[in-house]
Amino acid sequence: MKIEITEHRGVKVFGLSGDIDMYSSPALRKELLSFVGKKAPLLFIDFREVSYIDSSGIATLVEGLRGMMSHGGKLKLLGIPERIVEIFSFSKLDKVFDICGTLDDAFKG
């Protein structure tokens, strides 16, 4: 997994690529919690290049979401491939996370 951090219209975007599993999720957790600590109001995570996610990755995202919510911030997930959306749906976390199609959609919501 790779994490590329960019900024669009003042909002940080974590662009993830590859597999997010027990091996790679600690690196994501470190970046995510470091960002959460800055108490920014908004964070986007771009999933377009993510090929796989397991429960370790989901747990990391839940942790990030809770961290953002703790200071009134928002975390939005965008561009999630269909087979990965299915994992969020099965876990009933599609109603918990703010899931958007594109970066533009994320700015509109």
């Binding site: 397991d54 370790s56 989901i58 809770r66 099965f90 876990s91």
Partner: protein, 137 residues
């Protein structure tokens, strides 16, 4: 395979290939790949407590009626009665892996005869599932 998380990608690939070679549908292959990954992750986390120098043995037995995966370790014994996922939809980390395993395998059982470590047997019956699918149920 060694009990290091970096090898999980290999188990995923092998599992997916086994499913594809035996004609399982794309959606089922994805579910089985995730489930076997989760089972091996649990071995690393709970049976070996993160020790990356141990071994995990994964065996596949596939025929026209079933897709079976047997995962063995020599770590701390699991308590089958204590294995329960969290309620789906809860906003807290952890507890999802067992749901991912149980949703696609009809059998999830630990072999009580294994004295040291664990032998987890996962079976997905293919015939009934195919009939259900053909009947639209």
């Amino acid at each position: 395979m060694p009990s290091h998380p970096k090898y999980l990608c290999i188990v995923r690939e092998v599992t997916a290939k086994m499913g594809q070679m035996h004609g399982l549908g794309e959606e089922i292959v994805e579910q089985i790949r995730l489930a076997v990954d989760e089972a091996c992750t649990n071995v690393i986390k709970y049976a070996y407590r993160g020790n990356a120098d141990e071994q995990i043995v994964v065996r596949y037995r596939v025929d026209s009626e079933r897709f079976e995966v047997v995962i063995e370790d020599s770590g701390i014994k699991a308590d089958p009665l204590a294995i329960a996922g969290r309620k789906l939809g809860e906003v807290r980390p952890g507890g999802l892996g067992v749901h991912f395993i149980k949703r696609c395998f009809d059998v999830f059982e630990f072999d009580a005869r294994k004295k040291i470590g664990n032998r987890l047997r996962l079976v997905r019956y293919l015939k009934e599932r195919n009939e259900d699918r053909d009947n639209g149920t």
